[in-house]
Symmetry: C2
Subunit: 289 residues, 2 copies
């Protein structure tokens, strides 16, 4: 009864599911070019650990403009590679990197911006999903990002692979020189309490599989355990280009994820958590396939 | 406005928050002995990787009696240590262990049980939480376990550190000889599609920080990458004893988690996901503190 009524509700919200048993991957494969949004190269950061562990981050300038401007400035100056290390890996929570000495000078005039926790009004080009949210928000997508809103403001939720800005006690908002990526179940209680500035597009496994720190909050107790950051810089001509699913294909994909019709499933869930609906990303060179 | 109304709703559901700013850890520290439930030693499994990476699992015989009986029988026979390895580590999903040859004989007469996906009726001793669930269930606690229900049945949700039984296509339900632990954001779409049989109490970081597999679904492509299981056995007299928070302290803790009053937080969430509310566990020898 519950599943049938949920499916009925979804069919009102999403009129276009031609075949109820189309799989999420089928929807991605069949998405027209107009449902892939090119990610601007100016939003990409390449982070490297050691010689070859590469992590690509997309920044979200529309969501946290002041923090993103700071992070781009630090990246252009080579600040992270010069001063930052991975200092904290807390199980089922975050991987954090920054200057362990807390003494390296920031570029002249760089301060913690006032903005960054949310943006006014509903999300632009909002694709709302019909699923409840444990945190009382309305959730969905905006320009290829997962978003949460209560109408008067919208924000990026703390889902796995999202990147945020470490800060001290309020009213500090953090400069952007201390960053973290979420690993584990999304700590959504941090939403609107910390600036979320982006998302790891590739290489999150180089962060999430790092040894956990033995100190309080997962800080490494021994400086030798810290992981060296060999690069944290804006994308170059060598960097892959990416596109993210958007538009009707993204909504169809989300609803197919919530109502799996493939042979493995006995009972489709009839719902899905926004953190299990991170918009699919592909390398732009996969377009031609 | 939204937070105030959420707090008002909670104050109806949970009348006893003496100090609204009491922290979750304060509540744990102040919990009376009657709010700690001893975990029966017969529910504990000790798993070991290599020489010293120890993982303690609590089985849930009330939730999946047939599967748990099989797993205990396999553990008593030393079957996992003799035949199983960690064969799959999929980013933000699961770590899975079983017999990579799929040829090791099971104990005589062992078959995949029919039960295990859910249990009839509402959860026993159910402590419902007032937070919405993206999957349309009512969520809360039952005897120290996180649970989800729609009234006619209840089940263990796929949250981080929960342990489930790998299976083939339905109607197979799996014997229990292939197990997985959840790492990453809880894949709740698996709820009631696979038997959840327990929870990792200690040592989940020995699983979640393993190198990810490079093959499809995170399977290790090279047999050398598989991780040897040196023990998977019932608890011995050497094994620590554990207790889990229950009763009024558990409800208060959950509501404090949803409404952080400490100085770091600007905006309490007013809600929380059941997978961010895994009932706190302590070693029994911490009782005397």
């Amino acid at each position: 009864m519950r599943l049938i009524s949920c499916l009925a509700a979804l069919s009102l919200a999403v009129p276009a599911l031609a075949q109820p048993s189309v799989s999420p991957s089928d929807i991605i494969a069949a998405a027209p070019a107009s449902d892939w949004r090119d990610i601007p190269v100016g939003e990409l950061i390449v982070m490297r650990l050691g010689d070859d562990r590469e992590i690509v981050i997309q920044l979200a300038p529309a969501m946290a403009p002041g923090h993103v401007a700071n992070i781009l400035r630090l990246a252009e100056a080579g600040w992270f590679a010069a001063h930052a290390q991975i200092v904290r890996v807390q199980e089922n929570y975050v991987v954090q990197w920054g200057d362990p000495s807390e003494k390296a000078a920031l570029p002249t005039g760089m301060v913690a911006p006032a903005d960054g926790y949310d943006r006014p009004g509903p999300p632009p080009a909002f694709q709302a999903l019909p699923f409840p949210d444990a945190y009382g928000a309305t959730v969905g997508f905006s320009n290829g990002w997962p978003v949460a809103t209560h109408g008067r403001a919208h924000w990026l939720p703390h889902c796995p692979a999202m990147v945020g800005v470490g800060r001290n006690m309020p009213p500090d908002t953090g400069t952007g020189a201390e960053l973290y990526a979420v690993i584990g179940h999304g700590p959504r209680h941090l939403d609107r309490n910390i600036a979320v500035v982006g998302r790891v597009l590739e290489g999150i496994e180089h962060l999430s599989a790092l040894p956990r720190g033995g100190g309080a909050l997962g800080f490494y107790e021994n400086p030798d355990q810290r992981v060296t950051i060999t690069a944290f810089q804006p994308a170059s001509t060598e960097t892959p280009r990416y596109a993210v699913l958007q538009g009707p294909s993204l909504t169809r994909w989300a609803n197919a994820r919530a109502n799996r019709g493939d042979a493995f499933f006995i009972r489709p869930a009839g719902g899905a958590d926004i953190c299990n609906l991170m918009p699919p990303v592909r390398r732009a060179d996969q377009k031609k396939k």
